[in-house]
């Protein structure tokens, strides 16, 4: 991901800013100029909750170079209460325990480093809520 793209995506990546379509009510994350649901162009800003439910997930064993130290790790498509869906890494748990229906909270984390001297890219990762509450 080149730096200019990361910078353009700061509102959605760092603040979970999304857009609710005025035509069909679909929450698009990240916001888009034209709603993929109804082709509408009007929308209102909405900030996503920092909670979500896992829709589907998988475990990465052979990781790309940037994530070498993190393998094996789980990634999932999560859905927030607003209905927005996106991909997030699931951390602070045994990756094999991650599955559909699991409630997660979204925590601010370092997503990746652009090589040794590049910029640091931040965003949200998912942390299972149950494992956190069960033990506390």
């Amino acid at each position: 991901m080149p730096s200019p793209r990361y910078w353009r995506e700061v509102p959605s990546r760092l603040r979970l800013e999304a857009a609710r379509c005025s035509g069909c009510g679909k929450v698009n994350y990240p916001p888009r100029p034209i709603c993929p649901g109804c082709r509408g162009k009007e929308s209102e800003p909405v900030t996503l909750s920092k909670t979500a439910t896992i829709i589907t997930s998988t475990v990465i064993h052979i990781a790309p170079d940037d994530f070498l130290f993190e393998a094996p790790y789980a990634i999932a498509i999560v859905e927030t209460p607003e209905g927005a869906r996106f991909m997030a890494q699931v951390v602070e748990c045994d990756p094999s325990s991650v599955g559909p229906g699991m409630d997660v909270s979204l925590e601010f984390r370092l997503i990746r480093k652009e090589a040794r001297s590049g910029i640091l890219c931040y965003g949200f990762k998912a942390v299972p809520t149950a494992s956190w509450e069960a033990q506390s």
Binding site: V10, L14, R15, L68, F69, E70, V91, E92, E107, F108, R109, L110, I111, A115, R116, L120, Y122, K125, S131, W132, A134, Q135, S136
Partner: protein, 348 residues
Amino acid sequence: MAGIIGYGAFIPRKRITAEEIARQWGKDPETIRKGLLLEEKSVPGIDEDTITISVEAGADAITRAGIDPSKIGALYIGSESHPYAVKPSGTIVIDALGIGPEVHVADFEFACKAGSEAMFVSLGLVESGRVEYAMGIGADTSQGAPDDALEFSASAGGAAFIFGKENLLVDVLETYSFTSDTPDFWRREGEFYPRHGGRFTGEPAYFKHVLSATRAILDKTGLKPSDFRFAVFHMPNGKFPQQAGKKLGFTQEQMETGWIVPTMGNTYSGSSPTGLAAILDVAEPDDLILMTSFGSGAGSDSFVFKATELLPGRQPLGRTVRSMLDGPKHYVTYGQYAKLRDKIIVNE
């Protein structure tokens, strides 16, 4: 009067025990546990740093304050582990928290005192009327060199405090700072691990500054140790703050709540601020609280706080320090720890 209108803290979930580190280097774990009063310490994940800790702590501070974050006019982060050498941690933290762009931002550094420094400056700007709200953060993911005494204590965590003039949760009654040129601990530019002056870190450094600052603020306010319900001193290990407190006339009962070092470790700039957050989690209206930080180099900042009747209602709105210390922990081995802390070299 100005004071704290919101606060929050964050401690990573990973832990390593003193025993695991001692075993690695053939040291006696009992010497560490009994000598330094350290059981375990927090370890940042590979994806946790001063910026992520500041954002998590800052978000809870905003929730407890119940204010519009865009009204925060200044944000200062004190840390000795800012992820960038050039580019302030605060620039990312304000954007993540919905603060700015109309905001003054700076990163502070003063070994373990940078957090209280950020709080001190935030308070002053609010008192002067220059800004309506200011956030001061102390956070660190500090490193001790392998097989160094600091490896048992250097940990990760931090706390954030929003200062304002109305709807105070905690009133700031007085501040006092004490600073001198004392080379007890340092890290030169470009070096990975800090160095320290061994025994020199005790008497002329930690104790001289902590005791002088605390005695002076008691003098300035006319208060005596028995007037306080809580006291927290910088926690480089378990033993120093206990010794300092006792020399000053504070009891174990007054120090217990803020003395979180045995299971958290030394979070450097986040140390006494996180101890203060643990106190604010349980303090009741009219409780007097003393905090004295210490940063090598060296200096101490002392604060006298008084809880207001608004505090109890805001305590449950964020994560408590105790819930993060006693909550789910993931213990790592020394090998995993070395990997997480970049102590293993890999090809790019």
